[in-house]
Symmetry: C2
């Protein structure tokens, strides 16, 4: 691939379809000229848009298909009937090593199911997770799972901790990323059995991050850790609640500033500061759900995103591909397997120890 | 009780103890002169504070105890060893009908376990839930469970919907409160089995609210519904994430406004508007976790609250007591029992219907 990275794009996903994907690819290309694109979708819609971006046109190959997966389609149905869909063909391109990664703004469930079926999981990973970066008081946090797995056992949570740590280390350059398990209190006794077991394992294994214990919801935006690990149900609700609160405060701020002539003048003078806040919190900056644990790089762009958001999703995907994220994960999982037997022995000992303590107390 | 409402106060709970409780009670009394108080705790600490508030002193009875439940104590230990604690004596006062409700800023787990053990659940309620009011784009929403039950089955979620609806109707005066089940998508197929079953039951029963379907995290601050129903794990994480995001944005706003002399002048001119936003979002306004479903009114004040927050928790408790919330819940649950047999028959039919549809598709 001679220094180039090839991105397979599902041009038909998301609310805007090619209207966001084509200009988004053009923007990503302007930031990183080493990118090359395979664009899958309806030629009649894509070709006229490509004409507006000559640099992109020469860096892209357009592969026509008139099939696409709709936002409402059930994942299982999409899997069976969507073999010629733009989403599926884009994933196939990664499988066949024609592309280094795939980005789609389409149906999340369908994308996850197809990616898992076509690309398979990395060896040792039971289930992939959706991860995303979020703004905090400190440096950005990577949080997972954001909705791929409604219920997660301890083993899955441990794997998510490894996936998140490798991401934080390899892609974000954080040497010893701190990892927290999202819970309803920071005391050891809090939470359900799965999370307690995961905590117990994370305290004992060597992995690329540093497990610091349970964290609570408010610790996420405070930037207490570099990696937040949770199940897909809780993660999805927490992420969307955060988005909603951010929107609510923006709305109330605007309303407050318009409430009197004096405060309107004040707002005008502070416009630069208010705009910089707005752009720091811009959800487009954080667009891109990464399917970590799949043997191939697959990134989901939010369906409602415009081209600026889509370009950021392309950037996430190309970073994962360029930095060999999956090879690093595979190495860490192999290392974990070696520790596993050792760990199993320790666990037996520690649970005996625990029983003794319980009896003594 | 001759038009008066008597509030039992655990003066030793919370970070500030009597320093928040006594001035908080004085503030609540100034807003509602019909209140009377029983104050449980260390006389040596409480009496000097009471001297500063003569109106409160004449409206209160101070009951000395030198035992209290610490924030770190395990709930089970507190239950066994804390029979003479300020928390327990305050709950006992409600049980013995000396007080109409109890407010504590102490250990949440201990308060919940004690309240359940002493006051018992309302007939037909399996487990109480912690509920709280939250600000939204529209009118305030009541959300539950916020941490009492880590895992909830369909029956519990349905009971929470009823508890929340009765609260919204009786205490907030919303005639037909809308109720949503918190999920990771609004489509029927989304979520785990318990939540789908709860949705199925809520669609069929008559209850004081109107079930509108699944909602997502961002719908909470948007004010899409009057009552948000979820399990205690998800609810706790969502609530605390919302608090954290709100703090993060406040911090970033302050930083932005200080970034240049011009925006500092602007902020000065907009000070009134910014302060009004701050007070609208003031967490003290929403302080008070209500233990709904317990046969007796018990409200938990946030441990970190000052007297203003504590006064609001007293207000929530007195509203629940004054409006006979529990009697209304008992009536609704009795009504539900009558529907239950009918519902069970319908459920068998609808699941047969569902099986047929599955086979046909």
């Amino acid at each position: 691939m001679s220094g180039h990275l090839t991105i397979a794009l599902d041009a038909m996903g998301g609310d805007l379809g090619p209207e966001a994907v084509v200009p988004g690819a053009a923007l990503a290309l302007s930031r990183n000229p080493a990118l090359r694109f395979m664009i899958f979708g309806d030629e009649a819609k894509i070709a006229p848009l490509l004409e507006k971006f000559p640099a992109l046109a020469t860096s892209s190959r357009l592969i026509h298909t008139d099939q696409f997966v709709s936002a409402e389609e059930k994942p299982g149905v999409a899997l069976r009937n969507g073999r010629k869909s733009s989403m599926r063909l884009a994933i196939d391109a990664v499988k066949e090593k024609q592309a280094d990664c795939v980005v789609s703004g389409g149906n999340t469930g369908a994308l996850m199911v197809m990616a898992k079926m076509v690309l398979k999981c990395l060896p040792g990973i039971e289930r992939p997770a959706i991860a995303s970066l979020l703004p905090t008081m400190g440096r950005e946090v990577v949080m997972l799972d954001l909705g791929a797995n409604l219920e997660c056992d301890a083993q899955m949570l441990v794997q998510f901790a490894i996936l998140g740590s490798v991401y934080s280390r390899v892609v974000r350059g954080h040497d010893q990323p701190s990892v927290g398990l999202l819970n309803i209190g920071s005391e050891d006794m809090k939470g359900h059995d799965e999370i307690k077991e995961a905590a117990n394992i994370l305290q004992q294994i060597r992995f690329p991050g540093k497990y610091i214990g349970f964290i609570e919801g408010n610790d996420i935006p405070m930037g207490k850790v570099d990696v937040v690990v949770t199940d897909g149900f809780t993660g999805n609700v927490a992420l969307k609640t955060a988005e909603g609160v951010s929107k609510l405060i923006g709305h109330m701020l605007k309303k407050s500033l318009k409430s009197s002539p004096l405060s309107m003048i004040g707002a005008l003078l502070s416009r630069g500061a208010l705009n910089s806040l707005k752009s720091e919190m811009d959800p487009r900056l954080y667009n891109g759900g990464m399917f970590l644990g799949v043997d191939g790089v697959c990134v989901k762009s939010h369906g409602g995103m415009d081209h600026i958001g889509f370009a950021n999703a392309i950037e996430y995907a190309s970073e994962l591909a360029a930095r060999n994220f999956n090879a690093r994960v595979a190495a860490e999982i192999a290392e974990l397997m070696i520790q596993k037997k050792d760990l199993a022995e320790q666990e037996t000992l520690s649970s005996e120890d625990h029983d003794l303590k319980e009896k003594a107390s």
